[in-house]
């Protein structure tokens, strides 16, 4: 039964403990005095432990010693012997260990053996490799050189492409500039249009305002004129009244004459006629009065009308000025619009050109890229080949290293004895 | 009673009656036994008496009564002896004289002489001057005044029946004095003729009561009879006789209203037209109010037709038969023939020719004069004078002709030279027609001729002037040994004539077309100068030019390229009146001018144009006669 050391120890412990316990129990039973019970139990336990321990430990210690001796042998490179340990009824890790060690020994023996063989082979390969490496390296150099040439040509092409590309780019830039100027122009034109429109609007507004004012004025003027007309009408009516009064006066005179002719019968009539004449005369006077008043009103009216007329003339001037301003604005707007449309078309053209340039640029860039790619590719190739060369050299180096290593290894392995010393390495 | 209103009517009616009487008498002279004529004559006299009596023209009434009685006698006898015709004619002449007195508001002239003049059988017929001079005014002492109880003693066989002036007083308590008076008037009227009564019948009818009534009664009965029958009536208190009182005449000067006889059919037409005009007026008023111009136009068209119609009819009223003027002529001829000791037959054929009243009025004297001339100078010892009239288009031709000795052209020509009217050269250049026209020249009348025109101052020059003033022309056609015919061509209506309007210094004037030979525009270049005179050649004749502006003393104006000239006849020669411009031609209604405008020499009338403007119508001849700086007796022309 395999019992691990630890278990052994634990067992041992348990026995101890158990023993304590038992002793604890037994001792009293034995009739040992109580003060001495503990000491007896403990002592008993100790005894037990000592006894068990010694049993186990001997076995154990023996093994360990053996192992130790084996390890020493290994250390001396003696791989020839396995480790032997007495078997035990209760095997433990020592046995494992011994096994393991034995296995290791085996492995080691294989390994060393293998190494011995491999190393030899490696050393041989290394020598071959080194030779190849040297060859590759030489051709790589060639490639590198050719590639350099290519690279240099490619570089020139790339340069030209680059140049054209630059030129085109410049062109594109200038076109862009133009486009942007055009754009600026268009914007300013638009701004002008806007401004002009605003101006025109303002002018129109103002004109409308003025017109309004003028119309109001005219209305006023018309009202005043109408008033004047009314006054004139009154004047005419008064004239009519005056005329009628005059005729009535005449009529009254003639009536008196006729009445006189009628003699007696006409007396009453004559009185009436005289009254009529008086009435007519007073009407004439009143009419004259009204006429005077009307005259003064008319004069006043005329004055007002004159000043209104003046104002209107001024306003008219203003209005026509505004009209011309308005039309100037309109002209400006027109021009601006034209400018804008021109600018827009320029911008469009520029855009077109830019687009064209850009596509050119793109194309050229493509070309450039291709060229560059080429260049790059060749460079890569060159680099690659150089890398290759470098790698080759490294490889050669490595190979040499390897070889050296292999040698070393062999060297090192030499000290190991795997078999009974029969072969010579 | 104020009868003065009716005076005009009385005068014209009586004049008509007298005319008829004259005609009848002349007819009776040829046919003394014409019963109808006698009857008619009686009736005429009776009418005149009645009217005169009711008008209060006592003497006229008396004379008429006298004549009436004469006629009555002849009615019974059935024959009018020639002496009676003379007396009757004298009577009608006297009546005419009385009418003149009445017209002039004078007292009626004396008729006593006539009434008391010897009976026809005793009167000598030959050599009696039957002029119509007014009888010398004699003292009124033989006026038969009817005194209260006296009856008239008249030496004439035919008694002028008694005229009684009654003054009747009614009782103070007479119930209805006015009615009573009326009844009384009627009663009295049965006894004779009530010449006058105060208060008059009208007033009595109105109820104007008067206790005292004065009645002028013409009655056969004696005063006593009258009185007796009057006193029988109720309420008559007293009947007295008084001296006839002259009817106070209105002193107020009337505008001699003249009257016209109008056919009733014409009046009916007027009524109709007036009715239609009234309708038309309503129509126009309505259409104007509704502002329907179509209707207004139609209305105006209608109005225009109505006015034309009215105008036509009004003119008709003015038309009188020529006979009314020529009616007197037989008498004139007869009287003058008697006086000159010639036997002249007078025939007149004027048919139904009618002329405007105004023309006829002015024609009467010239016709008389021409007829007298014919009898006086034309007829040698025996012959015929004729007056005839006929229509020639729009003219009436009145011809006075005789079959006597005719006029001697050469001697007239000689006379003209002698009188200094023409130079020998000019005289030689005249055609026969033109020579004869010289007779009508004012300066031509010889002294002898003047007296023979019986002091009326009507010479051929006046005749011509009158005729031309009427818008007519005068032509003399003569043939030695065969007779002379004087033709007057007159427009049918003087009222409407065609005038040529001309302008001088901006003033429009009219010249009757009948005076215008030609109206033309001559080129400035055509005008030549001959001495101081401007002339222009026209139809192989140099026609002198005179500026009408200058004649009228108006400022002259420069004319343009052409010079407007009115060619007219002046004293037998052609003459051109230069005006500023022609202003058209019009049919113008001529208005006669009254004093003081009628004294304007050379202005024959005026007319009112459609636009209301008044233009005067010139008589170129008269104008030039009175022209400035012109020797009136010199003809204008060249001295060769």
């Amino acid at each position: 039964m395999r019992v691990e050391i630890s278990y052994k120890f634990i067992l041992g412990f348990i026995f101890v403990v158990a023993s304590i316990v038992i002793l604890d129990l037994v001792v009293p039973m034995l009739g040992v005095p109580e003060e001495f019970q503990q000491i007896v139990s403990m002592g008993g336990a100790l005894l037990v432990g000592l006894i068990l321990g010694s049993i186990f430990s001997r076995a154990f210690t023996a093994n360990i010693r053996r192992l130790n001796i084996a390890a020493e042998r290994l250390g001396q490179g003696d791989l020839s012997q396995d480790i032997v340990i007495p078997s035990s009824s209760f095997p433990d890790e020592t046995q494992d260990l011994t096994h393991s060690l034995n296995r290791v020994l085996d492995n080691l023996r294989e390994l060393v053996g293998y190494i011995r063989t491999s190393s030899t082979r490696v050393a041989d390969s290394a020598q071959g490799l080194s030779a190849t490496a040297e060859q590759v390296s030489a051709s790589s150099h060639e490639v590198a050189g050719t590639i350099e040439q290519i690279t240099r040509g490619a570089e020139t092409q790339a340069e030209m492409v680059e140049k054209s590309s630059r030129v085109i780019k410049e062109m594109a830039v200038s076109i862009d500039l133009v486009a942007s100027s055009a754009g600026k122009l268009s914007r300013s034109a638009a701004e002008t249009v806007t401004t002009a429109q605003q101006g025109g609007d303002v002018a129109r507004e103002t004109t409308a305002l003025m017109k309004q004012v003028l119309e109001d004025f005219e209305e006023n003027g018309e009202q005043i004129a109408a008033f004047g007309g009314q006054v004139q009408k009154i004047g005419k009516i008064v004239d009519v009244i005056t005329g009628i009064a005059g005729k009535t006066n005449l009529l009254a005179l003639n009536a008196t004459i006729e009445a006189a002719r009628a003699g007696e019968y006409g007396r009453g009539f004559a009185v009436v006629a005289e009254e009529i004449r008086k009435l007519a005369d007073s009407t004439s006077e009143s009419a004259a009065e009204i006429t005077r008043v009307i005259e003064s009103i008319r004069e006043e009216n005329q004055r007002v009308q004159n000043s209104m007329q003046q104002n209107m003339t001024e306003m008219d001037k203003g209005r026509s000025a505004l009209n011309s301003t308005g039309s100037s604005f309109d002209a400006i707007i027109k021009d601006a619009n034209v400018t804008q449309s021109k600018a827009t078309s320029i911008a469009e053209l520029a855009e077109n050109q830019t687009a064209g340039a850009r596509s050119m640029v793109t194309a050229i860039e493509e070309i450039s890229r291709v060229v560059t790619d080429n260049a790059a590719a060749t460079e890569e190739v060159s680099a690659a080949s150089e890398e290759q060369t470098a790698s080759m050299e490294e490889m050669a180096h490595a190979a040499q290293g390897l070889s050296a290593l292999a040698d070393e290894l062999l060297e090192r392995v030499k000290c190991f004895q795997i078999e009974e010393p029969t072969d010579e390495v | 009673m104020d009868m003065s209103k009716y005076r005009g009517m009385f005068l014209s009616e009586t004049a008509e009656h007298l005319k008829k009487m004259s005609a009848l008498l002349l007819a009776l002279e040829n046919d003394p036994a014409d019963r109808d004529g006698i009857d008619a004559l009686f009736r005429e006299a009776h009418s005149i008496k009645g009217m005169a009596a009711s008008m209060g023209y006592d003497r006229t009434a008396e004379l008429a009564h006298h004549l009436e009685d004469l006629m009555d006698g002849f009615r019974q006898s059935g024959v009018v002896p020639p002496e009676a015709v003379d007396r009757l004619l004298a009577g009608t002449d006297l009546l005419e004289g009385l009418l003149e007195d009445i017209s002039a508001e004078r007292d009626e002239r004396e008729i006593a002489d006539f009434l008391t003049s010897p009976a026809p059988s005793k009167k000598e017929v030959e050599g009696t001057s039957v002029s119509v001079e007014p009888l010398p005014e004699k003292a009124d002492d033989e006026q038969p005044e009817i005194e209260a109880e006296a009856s008239e003693e008249s030496s004439s066989e035919i008694v002028a029946s008694g005229r009684l002036q009654l003054v009747i007083e009614l009782a103070e308590d007479a119930a209805a004095p006015a009615a009573r008076a009326l009844i009384m008037l009627r009663e009295i009227g049965r006894m004779g003729t009530v010449l006058n009564s105060r208060p008059g019948e009208e007033q009595l009818r109105k109820g104007e009561a008067a206790r005292k009534i004065e009645i002028t009664l013409q009655s056969d009965r004696s005063a006593d009879e009258v009185r007796a029958s009057l006193l029988v009536m109720a309420d008559v208190e007293r009947v007295g006789f008084a001296a006839p009182v002259a009817e106070p005449r209105a002193r107020r000067r009337e505008d001699g209203s003249r009257t016209v006889r109008v056919r009733t059919e014409l009046l009916d037409q007027f009524i109709n037209l007036t009715g239609e005009l009234i309708t038309n007026r309503y129509m126009l008023q309505t259409s104007v109010r509704e502002e329907s111009w179509q209707e207004t136009r139609a209305g105006l068209d209608r109005l225009s037709r109505l006015v034309t119609d009215l105008h036509h009819h009004v003119l008709q009223v003015r038309m009188m038969p020529l006979e009314s003027v020529t009616g007197r002529l037989p008498r004139v001829v007869r009287d003058l023939a008697r006086k000159c000791g010639k036997e002249v037959n007078f025939c007149h054929e004027v048919a139904d020719i009618e002329l405007d009243r105004a023309i006829l009025e002015h024609l009467s004297d010239p016709l008389t004069h021409m007829v007298r001339n014919a009898v006086d100078h034309g007829i040698e010892s025996q012959g015929e004078v004729s007056v005839s009239a006929w229509r020639e288009k729009d003219l009436v031709v009145v011809e006075v002709g005789d079959d006597g000795r005719g006029m001697d052209v050469e001697s007239i020509r000689q006379k003209a030279i002698e009188k200094g009217l023409l130079s020998p050269v000019q005289a030689r250049g005249l055609r026969e027609r033109e020579v004869l026209q010289l007779v009508c020249h004012p300066g031509f009348s010889t002294a002898a001729q003047v007296t023979e025109t019986s002091g009326r101052g009507v010479g051929m020059d006046v005749v011509k002037a009158e005729v031309e003033a009427l818008g007519g022309t005068l032509d003399i056609i003569t043939s030695p040994g065969e007779g002379t015919r004087i033709q007057l061509k007159l427009p049918v209506s003087v009222a409407i004539i065609q005038i040529l309007l001309v302008e001088c210094d901006g003033k429009t004037l009219g010249i009757p077309i009948t005076r215008v030979q030609r109206a033309l525009e001559i080129e400035r270049s055509e005008v030549r100068s001959s001495g101081r005179q401007m002339v222009v050649p026209l139809d192989h004749e140099m026609v002198p030019l005179i500026s009408l502006n200058k004649v009228l003393k108006l400022p002259t104006h420069a004319t343009g390229e052409t010079v407007p000239v009115v060619v007219t006849e002046f004293r037998g020669r052609r003459l051109g009146l230069v005006v500023d411009r022609f202003a058209g031609q019009r049919e113008a209604f001529v208005k006669t001018l009254a004093s003081p405008l009628d004294r304007l020499s050379g202005v024959s009338g005026a007319t009112i144009l459609g636009d209301g403007s008044l233009i005067f119508i010139l008589d170129p001849q008269a104008l030039l006669d009175g022209g400035p700086g012109r020797a009136t007796n010199r003809l204008v022309g060249e001295d060769a």
Binding site: L253, A260 | L593, P596, V603, G612, F616, G626
Partner: protein
């Protein structure tokens, strides 16, 4: 009781009996009269009758006086004539026996037949008959 029309010629007052007046007309159109003496202003159409219009102020010797608009038409019974005067005033009644004889010096032109005193003013009564007679003979 008669009535008189008072009018002015120049600055003098004149009067004409109403019985001698047919009508007063205002501003009638006046037409040229050929060959008319200078004292006529023209002819007027008065209801179809043609009346000459006499420049009364001028005729009576008021050379400076103007003629107003109103014209006095005489009755046809008096004559066919119209008078242009300076101004028409009014019609007033007057008693014919209140007329005074005309002082000698005023009788110069002879067309005043009497004087009428009124409100302190002297009105010359026009002798129309004499005027007409003179015109007729002119």
């Amino acid at each position: 009781m008669e009535k008189v029309l008072i009018f002015t010629l120049g600055d003098e007052r004149y009067g004409l009996e109403v019985a001698h007046i047919q009508e007063i007309v205002e501003s009638p159109p006046l037409f040229y009269i050929p060959r008319a003496p200078g004292h006529y202003r023209g002819a007027l159409n008065f209801h179809g009758t043609i009346l000459p219009v006499l420049d009364l102020p001028l005729y009576l010797g008021f050379s400076q006086a103007e003629c107003g608009e109103r014209v006095v038409v005489l009755p046809p019974s008096l004559g066919t004539l119209a008078l242009a005067v300076t101004a028409i005033e009014r019609i007033v009644p007057f008693e014919s026996d209140s007329l005074l004889p005309v002082p000698q010096e005023r009788l110069g032109h002879g067309y005043i037949r009497a004087a009428l005193e009124r409100e302190g003013d002297v009105i010359n009564m026009l002798d129309i008959e004499r005027l007409l007679t003179t015109l007729d003979q002119a």
